[in-house]
């Protein structure tokens, strides 16, 4: 479908859809930007089991400034639609969009792509052998489906499945919740003959973790935030808690009414942050308050979107002492001090 035919789709979501179609990733980044996170890591050459990195963690260093940008526009009551903001506002505000692109290409430290490295190290530590498709990894296209562009999603899914098959992939280990849900449930519904087994990082870890393998350097209280698609959509609620309990020195704590299947959305669900940027920020702050009421030292989650939202909420609430980390990172930190 051409852009101008999608009159009723919010422009921010349409922008992402175009990028998936034209560049095979949500931000329209050139192919050189991809797979940089994995430089120096050694993977198996047997692709039958492959790690699926997805877009979210890889490009978060770029997503964050973009979301900040649309939020600022929304708060100033300027049309917050992403493409409009990208076209007009940055110059006026002295923000250099091209610079953000360059930054994501050059940076490999201090952003959430480190979560992917942590996840790979943790899986290896537990004896999981897997390949990584690198620049050949297709986009799962999940945002197309959630935008309502389900025919475009089906076309993309078909293409992705053919690529998986041509590369000999039989099993995928996913890490981004929405990619994993798409590859597991939505592909099964839309791609005829789809037969790839899909598991999530946390299922692999929960299935293999043994007492004494992980010890956090220092005693901490951890509040776990369930990402919607991981918890309610895929039912992976007990596994992360089982894993947290298996890490020595970690005391898991839960908010009173809002944990597990009752977890409150971080405010980034369904593309909400690009459609209602300012309200999305308010929701993030609300969720952070619920999690902080537990007295936690660290907030832990497992989704690039949730990570971004919770960080943003903490920042606004000026809770500098509390950290948000991905469960993969928490595990990786606990591995070092063995």
């Amino acid at each position: 479908m051409k852009k101008n035919e999608r009159k009723l789709v919010p422009p921010g979501l349409s922008y992402i859809a175009d990028n998936i179609r034209d560049s095979d990733n949500i931000l329209g980044l050139p192919v050189e930007a991809r797979a940089k996170w994995a430089e120096g890591l050694v993977f198996s050459s047997d692709r039958s089991t492959s790690f699926f990195a997805g877009c979210g963690y890889q490009y978060s260093s770029m997503l964050e400034p973009l979301v900040t940008l649309v939020r600022t526009a929304d708060r100033m009551s300027i049309n917050p639609d992403l493409p409009v903001v990208l076209a007009g506002i940055p110059k006026k505000m002295g923000i250099d969009v091209a610079g953000i692109y360059t930054k994501v290409l050059s940076r490999d430290e201090g952003n959430d792509s480190g979560v992917l490295r942590d996840a790979v190290r943790v899986l290896k530590h537990l004896g999981v052998e897997m390949a990584y498709l690198g620049r050949d990894e297709p986009c799962c296209g999940a945002p197309l489906y959630h935008t309502g562009l389900q025919r475009e999603f089906a076309v993309n899914a078909d293409k992705a499945f053919k690529r998986f098959r041509s590369l000999g992939v039989k099993k995928i280990i996913g890490i981004v919740p929405s990619c994993t849900y798409a590859l597991r449930s939505l592909f099964t519904r839309t791609v005829p003959g789809y037969d790839i087994e899909v598991s999530h990082f946390i299922e692999e870890v929960a299935g293999k973790i043994k007492p004494g393998q992980f010890r956090y350097p220092g005693n901490i209280k951890v509040a776990y935030h369930d990402p919607c698609q991981l918890g309610r959509y895929m039912g992976l609620i007990d596994q992360p808690r089982q894993v947290l309990r298996a890490i020595e020195n970690v005391e898991p704590v839960e908010p009173e009414w809002t944990s597990g299947e009752w977890s409150t959305c971080c405010g980034g669900g369904g593309g909400f942050e690009v459609v209602f940027p300012d309200m999305s920020q308010t929701l993030a702050e609300g969720r952070v308050k619920e999690l902080l009421d537990t007295g936690a030292d660290i907030l832990v989650t497992q989704c690039p979107g949730c990570l971004m939202q919770l960080k943003s909420g903490l920042k606004a609430l000026k809770k500098d002492k509390v950290e948000v980390v991905d469960l993969a990172t928490l595990l990786a930190r606990s591995m070092n001090t063995k």
Partner: protein, 395 residues
């Protein structure tokens, strides 16, 4: 334009004010505590909700047939039954029964709100009083309801005191007991002077033609009992085959509306009658002489044909989902059309057919799915929203 400008502004203002958030956060907390306690005290409710889901799944495809059957039962009970194909038909039928220059007392009804019945009757020259306290406040403020069960959930007591002071011409303190007593005083004589009482129903059994009305205030008992004419406007999705089914639907509805048991449940099957003098049946003793029931279709039988969106018709209107919706917690009914939040988008698209609102609402839903966890019918709102977005994005 995908999200209408006015809607975006309304939402932004609502979310930015903080007052709604404060009022809602208190309501959410007490809803969760009360429902938790009610379900602990009556744990059979969970299994009963599963039974009710089966009842609804079996009833919805046969709504039209059930409406005819219920109509026969009501006529046998000496009431009058009507099937309104459209909102316009329903307004015409009710308008003709009421006439003009009449005093009308109304119980709260989302279905009446859906077809804007009060406005229609007022335009025809009738004086209409909302008798549910929240709805009365909303009517006097000239606003629209912000929650299906607690329409004035966003209005703090200070605002109510100011409003009631204006109406009575006395300076009233923002004391809740005083305010409630004032409403009682203002409405008391209206019930007995009214020519017509209008209500809806929570559920209707087709075999006996019985309307179940669940309430706590007592205004429904008065509005349906005191005036000589009772008119009930009922969405066709409220029909179930038997009296036994209707009892189950009622209990599950009030329990998920956070009550162990409500103060009142009225069961109404026909006009008031007596045979106490020579066994001659005579109508209109202490209750209404006339009993009219209008079953409203207006897109419902069509909606029932959609394999995904038909779930919207299983809704019991307990309001539980609204307390679990993070966006609703910031904006209350501004995330809404006639009905609210994610499920409200389906009603906007299929029943009131306000596509601009439906589109805006479809992209306001987080698709986080917590409403589904709360819902006694396990209505899959994210699945419906994605189906709706597909219809919008790929027509």
């Amino acid at each position: 334009m995908s999200i209408s400008k006015d809607y975006r502004k309304e939402l932004k203002d609502a979310a930015g004010s903080g007052r709604i958030r404060l009022a809602l956060s208190r309501a959410i907390k007490s809803y969760r505590v009360n429902t938790d306690n009610a379900l602990k005290k009556f744990p059979h409710t969970l299994k009963m909700a599963e039974d009710v889901k089966l009842i609804k799944e079996a009833s919805i495809p046969h709504m039209a047939e059930l409406a005819r059957k219920a109509g026969h039962s009501i006529e046998e009970n000496k009431g009058k039954a009507y099937i309104a194909k459209t909102a316009g038909d329903a307004l015409k039928i009710i308008g003709e029964i009421v006439g003009k220059n009449r005093l009308v007392v109304k119980a709260k009804s989302m279905t009446a709100e859906e077809i804007q019945l009060r406005e229609h009757l007022e335009e025809a020259g009738n004086e209409v009083y909302e008798t549910d306290l929240g709805e009365f406040i909303i009517q006097k403020l000239g606003q629209r309801p912000m929650h299906i069960l607690s329409p004035a959930i966003h209005v703090p007591r200070e605002d109510v005191a100011r409003l009631f002071s204006q109406i009575t011409g006395q300076k009233l303190e923002p004391d809740i007991d005083t305010l409630v007593a004032t409403a009682r005083e203002l409405l008391r004589e209206k019930f007995f002077k009214a020519d017509v009482g209008i209500s809806s129903a929570n559920v209707v059994s087709a075999d006996t033609g019985t309307l179940f009305l669940i309430e706590n205030e007592g205004n429904i008992r008065l509005a349906t009992g005191a005036p000589p004419v009772h008119i009930a406007l009922v969405g066709m999705e409220k029909l179930v085959p038997t009296l036994e089914d209707a009892f189950k639907v009622s209990e599950v509805t009030w329990r998920y509306a956070n009550y162990t048991v409500p103060s009142y449940v009225s069961m109404i099957s026909g006009p008031s009658k007596t045979g106490d003098i020579e066994k001659v049946t005579t109508y209109g003793v202490h209750g209404p002489k006339e009993f009219h029931v209008i079953f409203l279709d207006d897109g419902r039988t069509n909606l029932a044909k959609d394999p995904v969106l038909r779930q919207a018709l299983y809704c019991l209107r307990c309001g539980g989902c609204l307390y679990e919706c993070p966006v609703f917690g910031l904006t209350a009914g501004y995330f809404g059309d006639k009905y609210f939040a994610g499920i409200g988008a389906v009603w906007a698209a299929e029943v009131t057919r306000n596509m601009e609102k439906a589109t805006s609402m479809a992209y306001t839903c987080l698709t986080c799915g917590r409403c589904k966890v709360r819902c006694p019918m396990k209505i899959d709102v994210p699945e419906m929203i994605l189906a709706l977005r597909k219809a919008i994005a790929e027509p």
